[in-house]
């Protein structure tokens, strides 16, 4: 029997989803649904369900758009952020949430990611980051660690990886954060903040891919991969209470950068208002 959350926010007719056993993507999709549910039911400042638009690209991650029962658009590979830009510009009232993957948003779509971050357009990008191209069968992605194996890196990956949250920060994102599937409650809170953030927000959520990345690199099953997240990814409070020495080789689950730069559509609206006033006057 599916939970209430599934009934409320997922398209039951289109379940079960296509992801492999042990895949982390279902957890992230659940976290997004919980975050939205909590924001819809916020007592002080609820968001409206009909104002939410889910935009996705191509890849394992991007199938989530079809399962979530909101306005949804499943676009072309790498271009979800660019489609989302048009949607947000056309109707700035909308909460435009982009569900994407490491390949979709940082390889083929990397240019759109950095430019949307630079503009500070009010989109929320949730990256389902599993370090691999899953849909096409296990090729290395821009987040596959150096030396790791993939079907296109049979002798080990020569590339050095991106840290997508840092990449977004560097490109000027006014909200950049990291989440994972082990620390679900923390990640849900981060996603909520990202959706409420006025400017561009990105949450790089570490997923797991036991089928391709895990198997190729002898990382064990899904449980073993989750244990790795538990032991190596550290929520904010604990992270900052750790000594610098202890933080080595650990990664923060939390917000990396935050500021209140003016949001793009609000700035553009000022230009429109000024032009119209001049025209009338």
């Amino acid at each position: 029997m599916p939970s209430d959350l599934v009934h409320l926010y997922m398209r039951i007719d289109h379940l079960p989803q296509i992801w492999c056993p042990g895949c982390g993507n279902g957890v992230i999709m659940r976290d997004v649904a919980v975050a939205i549910d909590e924001l819809i039911h916020d007592e002080d400042n609820p968001i409206k369900r009909e104002d939410i638009v889910i935009v996705s690209g191509i890849g394992c991650s991007s199938r989530a758009a079809g399962y979530l029962d909101f306005n949804s658009i499943h676009t072309t590979h790498g271009r979800a952020i660019a489609f989302a830009t048009g949607i947000k510009m056309a109707n700035p009232r909308l909460h435009v949430i982009v569900l994407t993957g490491d390949g979709d948003c940082s390889a083929i779509g990397g240019n759109h990611l950095i430019h949307a971050a630079r503009r500070n357009l009010g989109l929320t990008v949730i990256c389902f980051n599993n370090d691999i191209y899953g849909m096409t069968g296990g090729q290395y992605s821009p987040t596959t660690p150096n030396g790791d194996k993939a079907t296109t890196a049979p002798y080990g990956n020569v590339d050095r990886p991106f840290d997508i949250a840092q990449l977004a920060s560097g490109a000027g994102a006014s909200f950049s954060a990291r989440g994972d599937i082990y620390h679900a409650r923390e990640t849900i809170e981060i996603i909520k903040q990202a959706i409420l953030h006025k400017g561009f927000s990105l949450v790089d959520v570490y997923s797991i891919c036991p089928t391709y990345y895990g198997r190729k690199n002898k990382k064990g099953d899904a449980v073993e991969m989750l244990k790795w997240q538990r032991d190596n990814l550290v929520p904010t409070a604990r992270y900052y209470s750790m000594s610098e020495e202890d933080r080595k080789n650990k990664k923060l689950v939390g917000i990396l950068s935050f500021n209140d730069y003016p949001e793009y559509t609000e700035e553009y609206a000022k230009i429109v208002a000024a032009c119209r006033k001049t025209k009338k006057g």
Binding site: N71, T76, F83, G86, I87, N91, R93, L94
Partner: protein
Amino acid sequence: MPKTVLMQGNEAAVEGAVAAGMRFFAGYPITPSTEIAEGCALRLPQEGGKFIQMEDEISSIAAVLGASAAGMKAMTATSGPGFSLMQENIGYGAMAEIPCVIVDVQRSGPSTGLPTSPSQGDYMQARWGTHGDHPVIALSPATVRETYTLIIRAFNLSEKYRTPVIFLMDEIVGHMREDVELPDPSTLKINQRKMSFHDGANKQCYFVPDGQFVPAMKPFGQGERYNITGLAHDESGFPVNSSEIAGKLVGRLLDKVEKNVDDICRVEEVEMDDAETAIVCFGGTTRAVMDAVAAAREAGEKVGMFRPITVWPFPEKALRARLPRLKRILTVEHNHGQMLLEVQRIVGGALSVDFLGRIDGTVISPADILAKLREEGPSHAE
């Protein structure tokens, strides 16, 4: 009172699009189309619209499709290299049935080519640029004034058939300045998108009643939730793996254009009633052809001009109707012979089809055309 202004073709494209209700433009600078982006940046905020300069042409067409899905009439403009980059998402627009207008101000190619020189080398790209079988409507203006009125028609057709429309300009028309008598805005016919879901039991977002071809559309964020995808999908908008449903969908997309060619196709015919020779041309080549036709007529030669305004689908029926009287066809294009292939397909060996083209970035003159007309017998030289 219509007002007369001195205007460039690219400027007329902006003003015509604004008159058609275009309120969103996303683009990337590229010669010789850049004045369209500049004009939209200036004009759209004055009309309550939005302009954005994207990071490339791929994201420009993607943003245009997003804005259109969210309810705005939207456009982008580019030239050959950018048009090539847009092709994947043009196919997405055809598959997901999202209206928009893509202006391609053609320049000399291939590759970076001669960026400021005229060409009509994208005629076939306009038809076959994106992968898979898909519907295409492409219109090509010959004058600055026609640019203004025809781009309105491009939006009207796009909204009516829910499909991207290619507005195939060239450097000649794009950069030409001439007096334009703009029509009174109240006389313009503007199509609005057929909106809202069908009443009754069938609330499927791609539901098409029997005998019709185009589903009504609802923008995002205004009530009913639905899904848009470039995957083969059923009437609910969700992906399917059924060959039956996929075949039916693509068939309907093609039928939108193929079963409505009479509504979509437009031709300008000059001196064609008694013509024995027809010169077939389009876009910026037309002026030289008109001069050549006038000169030939003065010399007593029965020459006429057949100019597709709708260049895709090619106005086949109209050309066929002229074939019985014709002895010869001369196709004149600023390329290596692209529309020529359509003409040859339609004529099918019934009469001789000659070709005059140019691929060096210079323009074809009336004298070139007259010389070709007066050449003995059929030939295929350039």
